[in-house]
Subunit: 404 residues, 2 copies
Amino acid sequence: MTTWPDVPADHPFGRDALPYGVMVTPAGSRIVVRYGDHALDLRAVADLEPDSAWARAWREPTLDAFLALGRRDWDAARVWLRDALADPGRQEEWAAYLTPVEQVSLALPFTVGDYVDCYASEHHATNVGRIFRPDGEALTPNWRHLPIGYHGRSQTVVVTGTDVIRPTGQRKPPTSDTPVFGPSVRLDIEAELGFVVGGPRTALGSRVSVDEADEHLFGVVLLNDWSARDIQAWEYVPLGPFLGKSFATSISGWVLPMAALSAARVPLPIQEPLPLPYLCGHAATGYDVHLEVAVNGSVVSRPEYAGLYWAPQQMLAHMTVNGATTGPGDLFGSGTISGPRADQRGSFLELSWNGTEPFALADGTTRTFLEDGDTVTLRAWAPGPTPGSRVGFGEVTGRVLPAR
Amino acid sequence: MTTWPDVPADHPFGRDALPYGVMVTPAGSRIVVRYGDHALDLRAVADLEPDSAWARAWREPTLDAFLALGRRDWDAARVWLRDALADPGRQEEWAAYLTPVEQVSLALPFTVGDYVDCYASEHHATNVGRIFRPDGEALTPNWRHLPIGYHGRSQTVVVTGTDVIRPTGQRKPPTSDTPVFGPSVRLDIEAELGFVVGGPRTALGSRVSVDEADEHLFGVVLLNDWSARDIQAWEYVPLGPFLGKSFATSISGWVLPMAALSAARVPLPIQEPLPLPYLCGHAATGYDVHLEVAVNGSVVSRPEYAGLYWAPQQMLAHMTVNGATTGPGDLFGSGTISGPRADQRGSFLELSWNGTEPFALADGTTRTFLEDGDTVTLRAWAPGPTPGSRVGFGEVTGRVLPAR
């Protein structure tokens, strides 16, 4: 029998984090919240609040209904949970609803609606520009005027722990006049945050302003945008990345509510030139999120989200300025997060400078791009509301399997 | 009381067409099939076949469950329907299940999964290349090696009859150093066919070959990929079209089963150089579909689908060669269909040669791009199995409303 755990005040999954997930059980999927090193079954506790829409949504097998509710319900649920977890009177009963996280199998937590990937890190975009256009301007002329983005494949967004099969496709080696076919030989990662949209679907033709965006932003996941650079390089002109990205995008199983990042807000970098008015608003903010990229257990990079040029509120405002709808389950990635230093780069493309500078792992081997059998894990934390405290993100991990 | 209609053998919606749709009624949405100038309520007749999975799927409010079944059930349902419609014994009872099509309000017939738009017309790609890169090669080097495509926004796929609000966004006039904000001044259409995928979702990491593709292709719709050329031109380098397309994509409410096009198969154009083996297969085929683009009732173009370079079977094989899954509700567009002649161009961009050659409507006005209040309607037909007979497509129409 589980006894109620003593979660220390400085635990990254204490009462200031409370990410939601979906746990697979033999009896079906159930919504859970992470508390310390356990998952608390929210379906089991939902009966205590039968009149609350948010508690009824906790009885569903995915977060879809909960996402659809909106800010007021998300906040009410969070207040109730934080109070309940601090209530000694509940602890004996609730101990039975806990599962140690190492025994939890997480499902994809919500049905992905439209998936968009942005390109919001100036250091990443600059590195990519320098690698591929060494004689030109590193940034395209539009980069400082709008948060560039494109749609990706929603149905291949997978949850942490899902193996990633090396993709096969066309690439054109520089030494060949024609493309060749086979497994990608330049398989890469992109370390990103993914923002999860909720609330009622907006009407076609309406917009979400920067200052309205927080009403629509439910939470954040870690996201690994696996990328086959050789397939991408051959296909992407003129209509953008397609098969170089669409084989898999991994997200963490825990969705951290935006509310958990309230103490992690930091100013954006100065945006110069000033963006057009529809991209301006007081709500546009950075987040002091510290990421870590590990390959086979060896930390190869520590990207800092805080320096990202464009805010998620600006990304959502841009994405809807043309009247496109957004609604529950829509997911948008920040784009690769890279910092100014070499050990802050969020992709192998940058870490190995397009394969020319192999980097070392702790086991003595080196990498330029991913090898079969490699496991990549992204982790992250942000400052919590108490000085010195941390709010944790659930990790996203995936292992590369050989091409079929 | 409706009497059973006498549908002439040469009617474009006779027993050789039988497109499916979803009719909105005060009591909810119901699956219907078009027969002649009526919609037949399939929910009402589903009780006759209680043991058939396809008839049970007809009781649902969308085509989703029917799409998920697969080729064997689609074929069985079609055989049953064709027989039943020719059976005089049913006609008195079934007359009560008919609604004249002019009284039918069509809903979006299925939930759109992943939406991809291709670029498969050589004449269109060549025209676009000549317009935007007058001094370079019209086709990019990859064009003859792979069916170029990109993901679009699934949640803004709308059904025929939906008004399209002129999108607002950033564009950079050639005379300006910085972008300006406002309604698109170069709003356009793209006349396309859209292919609707069905059958069980494929496994991550598996592929659909060219010769397996017909097992996954349920049917075809007419598709208008509304495009804001000015927004698109400023945003699309390097990651492809985004807000210039994502505000609306209109499809016909009637989904014509691929089986209805069996007599319309025509050879593909010669593909030179020969594509890589994964893009080859006997099933790759063209279709002799004749389209018509009308603006405010004035026919401005008659694109021919038959000349398209890439087959839908090749598009699906390409889309999944990297292991991406595909499943019911996935939708992919052919890309703009343009023929070799000026009166066969499928976009205003081409018809007005980037705005330099206004074209006339029947009312004496001229157009370069769309004006507020304009209504665009796409129609199409293909040869049926009887010499001289035609199989009709449901139209897709939309009216441009002023920017908000």
